[in-house]
Symmetry: C2
Subunit: 877 residues, 2 copies
Amino acid sequence: MIKYVYDFKEGTKEMKNLLGGKGANLAEMTKIGLPVPMGFTVTTAACNQYYEKGTVLWEELKAEIFQHLSSLEETTGKKFGDAENPLLVSVRSGSVFSMPGMMDTILNLGLNDDSVIGMAKATNNERFAYDSYRRFIQMFGDVVLEVKKYKFDTLLEKRKHEKNVEQDIELTAEDLKLLVDDYKRVIEREAGIKFPQETRQQLLMAVEAVFKSWNNPRAKVYRKIHDIPEHLGTAVNIQSMVFGNMGETSGTGVAFTRNPSNGDKKLFGEFLMNAQGEDVVAGIRTPRPIDELNEKLPKAYSDFVKVAELLENHYRDMQDIEFTIERGELFILQTRNGKRNTLAAINIAVDMVDEGLINEEEAIMRIDPMQLDHLLHPTFDAAELKQAEVLTKGLPASSGAASGKIYFSTEDVVRAKASGEAAILVRLETSPEDIEGMVASEGILTARGGMTSHAAVVARGMGKCCVAGAGEMRIDEAAKCFRIGTQIVKEGDYISINGNTGDVYLGKIKTTTPQLTGKFERYMSWADKFRTLKIRTNADTPRDTKQALEFGAEGIGLCRTEHMFFEDTRIPVVRQMILARSLEQRKQALELLLPMQRQDFVEIFEVLQHLPATIRLLDPPLHEFLPHEEADIREIAKAMDITYHQLKDVVDELKEFNPMLGHRGCRLAITYPEIYRMQVQAIIEAAVIVKKEKQIAVKPEIMVPLVGDVKELKYVKELIIETVEDILKEEDVKIDYTIGTMIEVPRAAVTADEIAAEAEFFSFGTNDLTQMTYGFSRDDAGRFIREYIDKQLLEKDPFTRIDRNGVGKLMELAAKLGRGVRPDIKLGICGEHGGEPNSIEFCQMLNLDYVSCSPFRVPIARLAAAQAAINSKGQSK
Amino acid sequence: MIKYVYDFKEGTKEMKNLLGGKGANLAEMTKIGLPVPMGFTVTTAACNQYYEKGTVLWEELKAEIFQHLSSLEETTGKKFGDAENPLLVSVRSGSVFSMPGMMDTILNLGLNDDSVIGMAKATNNERFAYDSYRRFIQMFGDVVLEVKKYKFDTLLEKRKHEKNVEQDIELTAEDLKLLVDDYKRVIEREAGIKFPQETRQQLLMAVEAVFKSWNNPRAKVYRKIHDIPEHLGTAVNIQSMVFGNMGETSGTGVAFTRNPSNGDKKLFGEFLMNAQGEDVVAGIRTPRPIDELNEKLPKAYSDFVKVAELLENHYRDMQDIEFTIERGELFILQTRNGKRNTLAAINIAVDMVDEGLINEEEAIMRIDPMQLDHLLHPTFDAAELKQAEVLTKGLPASSGAASGKIYFSTEDVVRAKASGEAAILVRLETSPEDIEGMVASEGILTARGGMTSHAAVVARGMGKCCVAGAGEMRIDEAAKCFRIGTQIVKEGDYISINGNTGDVYLGKIKTTTPQLTGKFERYMSWADKFRTLKIRTNADTPRDTKQALEFGAEGIGLCRTEHMFFEDTRIPVVRQMILARSLEQRKQALELLLPMQRQDFVEIFEVLQHLPATIRLLDPPLHEFLPHEEADIREIAKAMDITYHQLKDVVDELKEFNPMLGHRGCRLAITYPEIYRMQVQAIIEAAVIVKKEKQIAVKPEIMVPLVGDVKELKYVKELIIETVEDILKEEDVKIDYTIGTMIEVPRAAVTADEIAAEAEFFSFGTNDLTQMTYGFSRDDAGRFIREYIDKQLLEKDPFTRIDRNGVGKLMELAAKLGRGVRPDIKLGICGEHGGEPNSIEFCQMLNLDYVSCSPFRVPIARLAAAQAAINSKGQSK
């Protein structure tokens, strides 16, 4: 005869298919010696059998259940339905995979008009007993008898109204007794049967309800969507209830095996004597620190200490344990890996390695790389945050938390900063002209733009908090205020923004900045040991470069030369260059830019020392350097000593419908080769200077952006080589340099074999590649991408995580084609994805040489790369 | 001994490697019995030998050349260097492939101080003889002795100045004699040798110069670029000169074997007695019609008639023949396939099939499909065109020619048209709001936008002439004028635009509209016989559809439903829909649009009868339907009875940085499913109506635009099916319909296998696919694409011709992936490329089911498809 019911102590965790996930887990806990409340599991096979028999519980099954029930009564010393010391049980569904729509937990099954008296006696709390009874009837009615919940709620409300009280807790035992009668009448009226007083009948009905819930519509749809086979069935777990409110030798509590705030190896938690879990939550009595349990119940405490150790050794991780003590006896209700902050996570991982509990590889796999973000950026004070009023929500564009007075222009932010104020820069969207304001601000808030908008990218580069695309916000720059619905926030008002969630709060919230400890360094050094991907950084200034190197970057993967053009002293010259009406004039302006750009590179090279730098030549369309608002045009024309119309003409001429797909990248060099010539000259002359003056051997990797056809690269490459060789000949010095290209245009990916013939390296520009492969403008897509995610048309914003299926396929193709022609081609990624763990894993799969990300993402990338390497090792085994 | 010199009569056309292209051709003409002036060829092998021997002419070669020279003297009865009847020759290079940089022709070699006297005698024209001598010295000096040309020109100018004359022709024989002396002195001074009087030395020096020119830098670069092997070498052709100015039995002329204007089978050409070709060109004497030659020189005429027939039979095409008669003897100087206009081309092809000269397949291959354009659109009167002043140049965006007064707004054009004027609409760029003005105009001229800009696409659809992206033009709408440099053209001024060349002329030029003849129909019926691709049309109105069917379209491949939204009566409702602040309001507006859109489809279906129609659901971003200029916003807000700010707010909210990559296509349906629901309802209800009322069984193919992920298609497909099935159930009728998608986003191409699981057809939207694959905005790329073509970075505008290497690869991939999942998937193309012959050939290679193009491109597509089918048959053999 097939065995359909297993005692917890009969099973193991390997029997998941038969016992369901929950049942197998309870069996395992029992097996390793944990004091879990006793119980048994009706198997998934029984569920299938139930359906095969036409949805009836057959006699043999009932007998087997009752047999286990009897042995449970024996073990616990309690009796089902007893008016003195009643056995109560919980009934839970438990399939192999957890699944929404399955039956909810029923607690306190076994209560009836008799046993409720027993419970009242045992707990010495009549009110508690009748409240439990009332709840049990409601839940049983709801999930087993399908009586609508609100029918009960109405009665509860009516009773409170009659008694003129607000809270459930204000109802007395007598009130609850009456309510129990009310509830029983509802059952009779709605379900057509009396509420079953026979406890065994209660149990069988509950078991059947669990079986039936396997086939409810929601569960069926879920299985269909997730390809979960129909024949798996669900198990039913029946477990004895324990009570912490059975007098002064009983109690309940929660504890972590280590400190979840700093990782200290010491029990951390609290408990309440003579109480149930609800009492802790209700917050009427103040729980005591877990240490004090030792004074109250030394045996239970020492048992708990042993259990904690047992659990840590078993699960090899810090545990978060719920326990109840019933008349001096410890029961473990639940244990799970404890949540902890990042600092604690790192300290615990390092300690556990030192304790020999886990090895370095496991330690590396323990921490979600994104969590490191919290170590690198300020966070809000948790208490103050709770009080704060959410004003609106945007995209979490750059990590951190910031509080300050709002200002709507770079000038105002800079002025505020100078006078010692903390300022938040609020803009419709930022443009390169706002850089100075972004630097001076505590954080940036924009109404437009997505995860890779200008504000987002630059803020991440700076490690500065940014919330982008807060679409509800209506900015009125003239009036210096913004509007959310009818609420108006004015210049100088305080707001706080959370770059990790996108939340925007009205008012000031305290922030704290964490410190990096020695354990962090050790932990990261293990990551470096495992990873095979190099980690570079996207940095355009010596300051950013220095920051990135401190975080462990191994070179620059993307230096955007245009960012150097936006400085106050330079942009007028850049504009002169753009407005030049002849090659001669343009060359004159470029002559002025040359020493500035050269000096930038000298400083960056000095910071980098021997580390490599990939330098991208000018990429954005020229109109990005020009003003667009009427007032700005007037002002700048005046400053440049030309007429409004002269400037306006050029602005109009350069205007583009789709600048993203316009006259930019290497296309500029086809039209104005002299611009790239100047930039290359600056790079190489800088390399010569640091070589001659500081004996630093720089290896510039000159990168041509937006190549779509090998002919473009050929054209630009020729002018680069010409320029470089002229300088090196004249200076009589050797500089190692390479020339490569971005792969960011789909056509480049498709024709990567042709391009690789000319390119010594590829750097995947996954921002643009994603834009063009999806046809999503990163500046505009914010508004519908959120809708896509809501409607499950997108799992993740593809600007955040590489779309492996589409963009990834093009990357794979490009890598294959490129390596086919040039086996030693260096491959990297410099899009925003270079700092995102899932994308880094994909880069590992493509076997790239390096990923490059903004300085504050470097530690994340190091850890993610280590995990990816470990995972790939696992897969290749 | 190797033979290094071949008489023309010794060679054949198969000996191209040895004799070069020109030599083989001369041999072939001689062989078929044409009276070409006699001569011989020094082989390419001799050239190679020359280099192997260290660039010297060896004795055996010289002897062989002189031997052939002697026999030439014998045949012609003339003697080299003779003072009575001198033999003169031309010397020409002739490699296997023609190549720039190779030596120019030297004419009249053999002239010296003696033979010039002989020439004067023979032609009875001393001035002609000395002018020929002077020219010969200059050319010999230039190409053989490397004396700079200007040194001679200076002397000529000096001489004219002294004589106080303007034209060369005013110099007398005596002047020219003195000039000959001057020239000889220049040679001596500059080249350090006397001008060789020894004619055999002249010949050897010329042969050596030809050999040397094989290795001049320009030719070497050209060979490198075009992969022409170095070892091919060049041959040298030495041919006797004949003279048409040797008295009244001599003459010269040019004739076509058939009429190049209408194809009539009758010699068509002209001649001049006692004249050289130069005299015809100089235009001093008026040539006579070729018929009259029969009266003057009946023998020569009848010889020419025979030669004409011979040549047509040999080349199996109409010939354009240059001839000279020397003392009654006919010589053919050159023959080539004659240029003809399209009407003639068709008539000749059809006639030649009837004559049995060529077969239908050959007839089909004879005509460049693009030529048909001339039959379908007006053209400028050739004579008036010659006089016209080119004002500026834009892109030839839509074929035809148009003349009219310029107006800068739709209203003004419509008003002008109403008062009987021919108007040209001039705009910075057009938008859908200009449609009415475009219809009313004779042609459209824009300052911005490329080959697939709005103006270009819509104009082509209408078959209306359009020049787009005339970048020099500065439009001042307020002042109603435009400026080109300093020239100002005002409203009401006449201009003329050529949509085939992009030229814009000041003033009025007469246009003529050709008629389609019966031969055209016959010719096209052959095309239909050969082609395997179906030809559909892009049409949005019953009128366009009708036009396309008349041109032979077999259904609609792209009906853009949004074009129906732009009509005067509809756009206010569309705007209401966009401004709706609730689903309810939006549905109300859609309710109003439904009957209009339904009626459109009813009418289109009635025109189509049983032919299929692919209908694309709404594609453009909603802001395209809203005004953008301040004044327009004010006006429309007023008309809509809302405040300026209400409208302005929505306009701002919908504004996008890169609309091409923005909230459009199926993305709209994700946000506003009700819009697509209304459109689908209109389509299906219309199908029901024509089925019930007219018994027309329509097969709507509902097409979802801008799909990048199968999930989008799934989402939209579900709502389509739901809507359709509801109607069909209610109406109790069966309509065959299919649901498919555009492949226009690179991601769709890459994931076409997933998409094919849901799509019954793919239509390649190559406009957008090209934009996104290249990252070229079609509206902005105009300005740099031309530069790319100039710098040979692009062979062709990829918006005109499919980029096989990049975009084509994605198409190939998509076709392969799609067919892998759904072998019977219907594949078509509806981008602008669908009407371009080279792209159609590519579609044939991909084995698509159909191409779809604008109505006026349908005949072109039919012919191109036929040629592609014939070519592919050839290749698969």
